[in-house]
Amino acid sequence: MTAVAEPTNDTSQIPAPEGSVTITVKILRFNPEIDNEPHWESYDVPALPTDRVLNLLMNIKNYADGTLSFRRSCAHGICGSDAMQINGINRLACKVLVKDLLAKDGKPTTVSVAPIKGLPTMKDLYVDMEPFFEAFRSVKPYLIAYGNEPTNERYQSAADRERFDDTTKCILCACCTSSCPVYWADGSYFGPAAIVNAHRFIFDSRDEASEERLDILNDTEGVWRCRTTFNCTDACPRGIQVTKAIQEVKRALLFKRT
């Protein structure tokens, strides 16, 4: 076997604004129509410290290689489309600033970008999210209430609202679930995001199906599979205390019923 140098790509068309530095972006690329497996490609791109990784990807796509594929929509950390592994850590490309990635003392900077793990890669940086959403749907992430519909809103005290405030922030980006070693190994584990969204309703005083959801999460692929490694909490771009939410569900199962 001979070592093959990573192909360098022509990036001369990318505009270089004043104050920009050239950094190398290594992207794990995969085209299912040509490639048998993913391979790394390097792009030297001019970047401002205030750029986000998403800007670099957009520049590569717009000026160097239009076939580069990735998801993004809001570009402001709201929609949860652009979860990817940046320097080995799951992040939203639209929330990572270049200045936080620059190498110390002016050394050349390399940034690696790969698709999130644990979900099938469809092309380049986008993955099939269906298994992720299937787990999400199966915890019944919607309000379930029985009896007569109230004629006005369903009131809730501030304290009751506070109980699940943290888990309302989820944007379903899959950063957490695709950083979970249990999910990598065993794709039928619900994964942290589904548990976060179950937590959102289990601890909602207006909801009446907590028992049902607790049953679902008490099962073989539920919360007991979690090994408390905190990868999910570290990955969440919304700063949700994911592992804590999972522990709260375990606690509810241990002490509130059985």
């Binding site: 298994p131 299937e134 794709g187 039928s188 099962d219 692929e221 539920g222 007991w224 241990l254």
Partner: protein
């Protein structure tokens, strides 16, 4: 109009309905409780056998026979045997669930695990209770 076939998409995820039993809950709790007990049992065991009064060098047939003549050490060793075996076995069950790719592999690895657990538990328990200090070599 032709009747449409309802086939699942290839590799579509399987998820069985919740079974409403607490097995995983109890096994999770057991790992924590047995772990706590093992800290005392195993570290105590290692300390007595390897460090106290000359450590391993004094272990011989008479030493073991002496210890097992006391119900206290019989109980200690029995508890250690059962807790470590069930704790380690349950831990390996988790690991098999994680890493086996096919249900058949998973099944047979677990059978192998359970069989080996049973052999060690039965054999160990038998030895602790039927140990004969007057055996002639």
């Amino acid at each position: 109009m032709s009747e449409s076939l309802t086939l699942e998409k290839p590799r579509s995820p399987r998820r069985r309905a919740a079974r409403r039993n607490n097995f995983e809950l109890y096994s999770w709790a057991f790992m924590r409780i047995s772990g706590l007990a093992l800290v005392i049992l195993v570290l105590g065991h290692l300390f007595i056998m390897n460090i106290l009064d000359g450590g391993v060098h004094r272990i011989n047939f008479a030493f073991v026979a002496g210890r097992w003549s006391s119900p206290f050490w019989q109980f200690w060793d029995l508890a250690m045997l059962w807790l470590a075996q069930l704790h380690g076995g349950n831990g390996l069950r988790t690991i098999i669930d994680d890493y086996a790719r096919k249900d058949t592999t998973r099944f047979w690895l677990k059978m192998l695990l359970y069989a080996s657990m049973a052999v060690i538990l039965v054999l160990g328990t038998l030895v602790i209770f039927t140990f004969d200090p007057n055996i002639t070599a």
